[in-house]
Symmetry: D2
Subunit: 431 residues, 4 copies
Amino acid sequence: MTYFADIAPVTYEGPDSTNPLAFRHYNPEEVIMGKTMVEHLRFAVCYWHNFVWEGNDPFGGQTFERPWFPADTMALAKAKANAAFDMFRILGVPYYCFHDHDIRPEGASLSESNARLHDMADYFEDKMKSGPKLLWGTANMFSNRRYMSGASTNPDPDVFAYCASIVKNAMDVTHRLNGENYVLWGGREGYETLLNTDLSRELEQMGRFLSMVVDYKHKIGFKGTILIEPKPQEPTKHQYDYDVATVYGFLKRFGLENEVKVNIEQGHAILAGHSFEHELAMANALGIFGSIDMNRNDYQSGWDTDQFPNNAPEAALAYYEVLRGGGFTTGGTNFDAKLRRQSLDPEDLIAAHVGGMDICARGLKAAAKMLEDDALEAARRKRYAGWEDVDYLSPAATLDGIAAKAETHALDPQPVSGKQEMLENTVNRYV
Amino acid sequence: MTYFADIAPVTYEGPDSTNPLAFRHYNPEEVIMGKTMVEHLRFAVCYWHNFVWEGNDPFGGQTFERPWFPADTMALAKAKANAAFDMFRILGVPYYCFHDHDIRPEGASLSESNARLHDMADYFEDKMKSGPKLLWGTANMFSNRRYMSGASTNPDPDVFAYCASIVKNAMDVTHRLNGENYVLWGGREGYETLLNTDLSRELEQMGRFLSMVVDYKHKIGFKGTILIEPKPQEPTKHQYDYDVATVYGFLKRFGLENEVKVNIEQGHAILAGHSFEHELAMANALGIFGSIDMNRNDYQSGWDTDQFPNNAPEAALAYYEVLRGGGFTTGGTNFDAKLRRQSLDPEDLIAAHVGGMDICARGLKAAAKMLEDDALEAARRKRYAGWEDVDYLSPAATLDGIAAKAETHALDPQPVSGKQEMLENTVNRYV
Amino acid sequence: MTYFADIAPVTYEGPDSTNPLAFRHYNPEEVIMGKTMVEHLRFAVCYWHNFVWEGNDPFGGQTFERPWFPADTMALAKAKANAAFDMFRILGVPYYCFHDHDIRPEGASLSESNARLHDMADYFEDKMKSGPKLLWGTANMFSNRRYMSGASTNPDPDVFAYCASIVKNAMDVTHRLNGENYVLWGGREGYETLLNTDLSRELEQMGRFLSMVVDYKHKIGFKGTILIEPKPQEPTKHQYDYDVATVYGFLKRFGLENEVKVNIEQGHAILAGHSFEHELAMANALGIFGSIDMNRNDYQSGWDTDQFPNNAPEAALAYYEVLRGGGFTTGGTNFDAKLRRQSLDPEDLIAAHVGGMDICARGLKAAAKMLEDDALEAARRKRYAGWEDVDYLSPAATLDGIAAKAETHALDPQPVSGKQEMLENTVNRYV
Amino acid sequence: MTYFADIAPVTYEGPDSTNPLAFRHYNPEEVIMGKTMVEHLRFAVCYWHNFVWEGNDPFGGQTFERPWFPADTMALAKAKANAAFDMFRILGVPYYCFHDHDIRPEGASLSESNARLHDMADYFEDKMKSGPKLLWGTANMFSNRRYMSGASTNPDPDVFAYCASIVKNAMDVTHRLNGENYVLWGGREGYETLLNTDLSRELEQMGRFLSMVVDYKHKIGFKGTILIEPKPQEPTKHQYDYDVATVYGFLKRFGLENEVKVNIEQGHAILAGHSFEHELAMANALGIFGSIDMNRNDYQSGWDTDQFPNNAPEAALAYYEVLRGGGFTTGGTNFDAKLRRQSLDPEDLIAAHVGGMDICARGLKAAAKMLEDDALEAARRKRYAGWEDVDYLSPAATLDGIAAKAETHALDPQPVSGKQEMLENTVNRYV
Ligand SMILES: [Co+2]
Ligand SMILES: [Co+2]
Ligand SMILES: [Co+2]
Ligand SMILES: [Co+2]
Ligand SMILES: [Co+2]
Ligand SMILES: [Co+2]
Ligand SMILES: [Co+2]
Ligand SMILES: [Co+2]
């Protein structure tokens, strides 16, 4: 008898189903562009929002009543894991994700915390035999007060050292559980005020830390991808991994652009002033696309709302960029999404994921069709076709050389319609 | 008899003056930290907002009535120049800035436009004998409809070629007039919709163009600095030179990080979600700080308001970062600021600059005192002092090595107050 | 031979059509909930963005080349009208909208401007015999420099008087052309700085002006609705008709809440920090819903982008609120939308409207089905059902009386799930 | 021996003091415009952020270690009160503010919670003999999960009844302690999604509740002012008391505009898209100005940062509007401000208030001087002077009557400079 005892595994019933706990669009084994939907989407459920978060917000306390709360003993941690794997089973997802801190109670010492992590990993290893695989592991280095001034960017080198141990162990566990990626989200890697911050030094600390993470990955033979998850702010006023372009510059600076990729969250894109598809397209252009957190931000809220996706046209534009870039390799579609704190029931947890997965499925199908029909890409190729006839981008070209040509030919380039509305209409034929 | 005929040169009258056209804080020859204020601040006045802009906004037409409008003949362009240099003289500024398009009427052909530019440069050269120097020149590649889809990032290579000629000539003129910098602001280097945009190609085009600009600078022996001015959006939905960190990544990608620096505008920092001092500190940390556009954005407006600075504490924080980084070299303090469109009178133009210069002077003086008193820096050094005793940042350090140390020593780092409010109070002792 | 010469009237071809100039969802005579789509949606095309705007933005000039530009003679104004009515015919819309200033060239004097307005109204009257009806007329009191400091809120009473004449004549013409509403958008009714603004007086001026407008409506027997269009800012820093709730307070203050309703624009809702459906629901709750401007704002741009709608789920939520409130009476669905300035071709004008109308049609159909199926409303009724058993809202109820009851019964109310995600999933069954 | 044992009462030492725990500008008995600073500013310290909040943020737990945490017994609640009154004494503030929930541990039942509140009020009553007075009391109806879907706007009428008891008791206690105002902040009076919300009904519930609050005030003879504190959102997606103009409309609707005023917080103004001075000026224009919460929002953060004020020019503009409106009557300057969660030390609590009070003092002094010198007001009067000669605002004036006059006189009003920059410079002579 479990937390979700009376909820049957969710199955595909087709678009006409009115069963709130059935898939209407996500048909796992349906083949799209040569791959099944399960292979394309690579869905993952997150541990933290679903099983750890108690419903608190800045003005209110716990709303959820889960039998494993406060999960401060190993017994409760296992009860939590039982519920989690039960939900994974009901949803039929191929992957899940966790922070070290999500799965083990904090110990009285660093060593005890580490030991508990490994004990819980044993427990998970067993459950994973019949359950989902690990899309990525990560370490929570932002909740405890010791991280209040940063993790690897802390003014206190002891915190840096502490984090080395935390990340090493989280990587060890991720490796052991065959995680396909390891993620770093620097929630406290930023500042509250420049007045007490040595920006230059903190960036150096963060760069060095990441380099050591990459070295350690190779040392232990972890074949997964190291991912950074950009976010512009919150909890800190400014977070160093602001957005995809910022992370790219950081990686280039430390020579890590071929070692580290990005995990892009829709909500974080919005908070950074970008559309989700912008961040995806930028990551593809810069060669650092890795994985996605498919949770949206409310467009009118200035903080991270981490809501389940519910807009199919937006999902279509996102997967269009994913597919244009070749699709996921080690990455996948994680739901770093949380219920609204008023959604109290076990059924809400299931339904929210079902709805989110269906939106992604609709998005994927529309995106695939748009690619196959080639209407958008044909228009794009045509728009830039003139470049095939010139060599202005060759290393031999010079400013004055090209200028002379422009003057000699008395160039007077005439603008051509950008056709934005017609292209938007085209997209709307598919979504 | 000129446009400002009855306005006398502005002089320093001290803080108690109530003369609206006197400096109360900017005392050009006053020495601060070993340099005069004129040397520290290196004020420049911009040509475009003051002498070209007619007061239009998206919902209204011309409000200003300047005798040289519409400045579409060489005679009117010279009348405009006469007024401009008259204002420079009244304000006593050491520098000014211009776009090619500001100073010459567009010609019927590219060649005629270029020829007119050189003719106007002759006219300026003469005036500059007794007037201010050129802080920077730049080219307007965003107003004409030919640039509607981009300049160097245009889908049409003819536009790219046209821009090569435009920039080459603007650089030639800047070089001839002994400009100390050359600026590129990519107002149309971005996109309106991803649907018709080849992001990857456009970034390549822009990178190649900038590389050629740098090469051309060396070819002609221009000793000034090449500057990029970041802005996140407007006029386009997304602009590639989004903010300082983004520009840094772009420069690194094309190997230009030692060749190009940034011109940071307060208003653009705000639009990108940053404080001005953040962008300055980031540019210093990344080694690409160049110059500033000292015009603010209204905090409640989502478009570029380009207002004169009027908040002394904010100016102090900005100059604090400038001074901490060693101050300007070739850069300076430009006012890329425009009057409100209801400020119709010649006197408004003068008064707005006087007020802005005084705010900068107050900011500089406060910043210098804060640096000299060392209160902030002492606190900052102390906060990171623990790092002197560890070698975690050395290339030999490893994640597992440091982790082992943390575990062996059973580290349990205790947080220390960040003292933000006390530091803010400290700042308020100086402003 | 007209501007759209080779474009045939747009017809409904069904969802599988790939004809870019056909309706795939808008089937005018299709009956939904007892009314045809044409009756439900009451589409209107705006004159200004389509036929007056030249493609300018704050950093660039004209991009469009229409044969009637600059439309500064009566002959050109008529050529413009010919093109406009031709487009109305091609689209088959039942309504259009205009500002006085859109249709007549500004005269050398107020009287000449008025006279020209009436002359053009004659011309329109004739065209309307076989063309669309007038959804609403309005007056442009923001473009000319005389309005730079406000229209009815101007510090100069002569401007107030001038506006009286402008509005009187615009109302006369709207009345004559059987307009079904008259709209006021106060683009300059706001302030740039509080420092020179008498907020209290300006609100009085605006209230008095509106009262006189209402009186005049009755005097001439105009049966249409007076509408205010809220917008928070732009062009001014602050606009008095900020949002629906603000307009409601303003109307209450001047006793006009039964005389004036609101025309709500999606883009303005976004700029004010609200969702579109919020503004619609609020107007319904306050009893002042009138009409809609169905143009969206880009979620990442801080200025009024006035784009054609392209997101069907959003349109569904909007029409759901419209239908819940009983649908339009005198109001309708206006497109206060403009092409992107790169969309140069006549065909772009047509296609943009076709796409927008189809999105609205999809939204309407989904909204109607949701209402008919009652799933959302049943859940809503159930959630508040407890209120049927209490009389706490009766005038006789008192705080201490209810408090005593709560204490006596030792109330300990237990929260119930808000089911947000499940309701969002329900919506997604229809869109 | 208390929490602040070694910190001496803060005294005025003048602007040159470098003592971080001395006033440099706030000189309580200094007379400004005929009143002492203590009478003008009427400072209050809040109980919640200083003594209840544990340093949590959405991504992290407790950082503060106060000896009275978790304050879940009456003994700890009294220890907390001892620390609080000790801090009030050290700061020398004339007022403080509290929520019921701040001062008493939640009981096992409503009655026990109420009883504890009255017991703690006894304890406070005694302390207040030698301590500060109560500026306002309020009730926390947002933290407990029972309020998750609203307080008076809850779908469950039992919550409405529960709130009646809570507010009645909070008002009783406020009355007994001679509070000068009673505040309502509707943190949960709003919605997360329109899909499950009956907007119309919830507004009715809130209106009825407020009416009963006003009736109860009169019944018990409470002479203080009832205040609403506007905030646009957070914790909810939309909060009904969005901003001053919205609250005004709400009050008008329920006929309460002469009974209820507003408590305006700088941070909430910013979140609503307004400047602080806008909200103050609007409240004065609408006749509902009451009190202020003098805590700022970070301009780059989209959530409520509740920081101590630190910008003197901004404070000057705020107090200028307060003084223009006649100054406070029952209201005052509350600090609804919280330390950054990294500011761990007792001294940080004191220093933050000292800095905030000094900024207010500087603002007040500058504002008073600007008013006395009349420069801004003289310019404002002059700008609108033309209105003295016309009767357009009289009830007898008509649109067509004024229009006829405009046409007869062939009015052609010419714009006059708005002088914004010169007025901003004028302000800068005082700050
Ligand atoms: Co997030
Ligand atoms: Co995430
Ligand atoms: Co700018
Ligand atoms: Co600039
Ligand atoms: Co608009
Ligand atoms: Co509109
Ligand atoms: Co607040
Ligand atoms: Co407050």
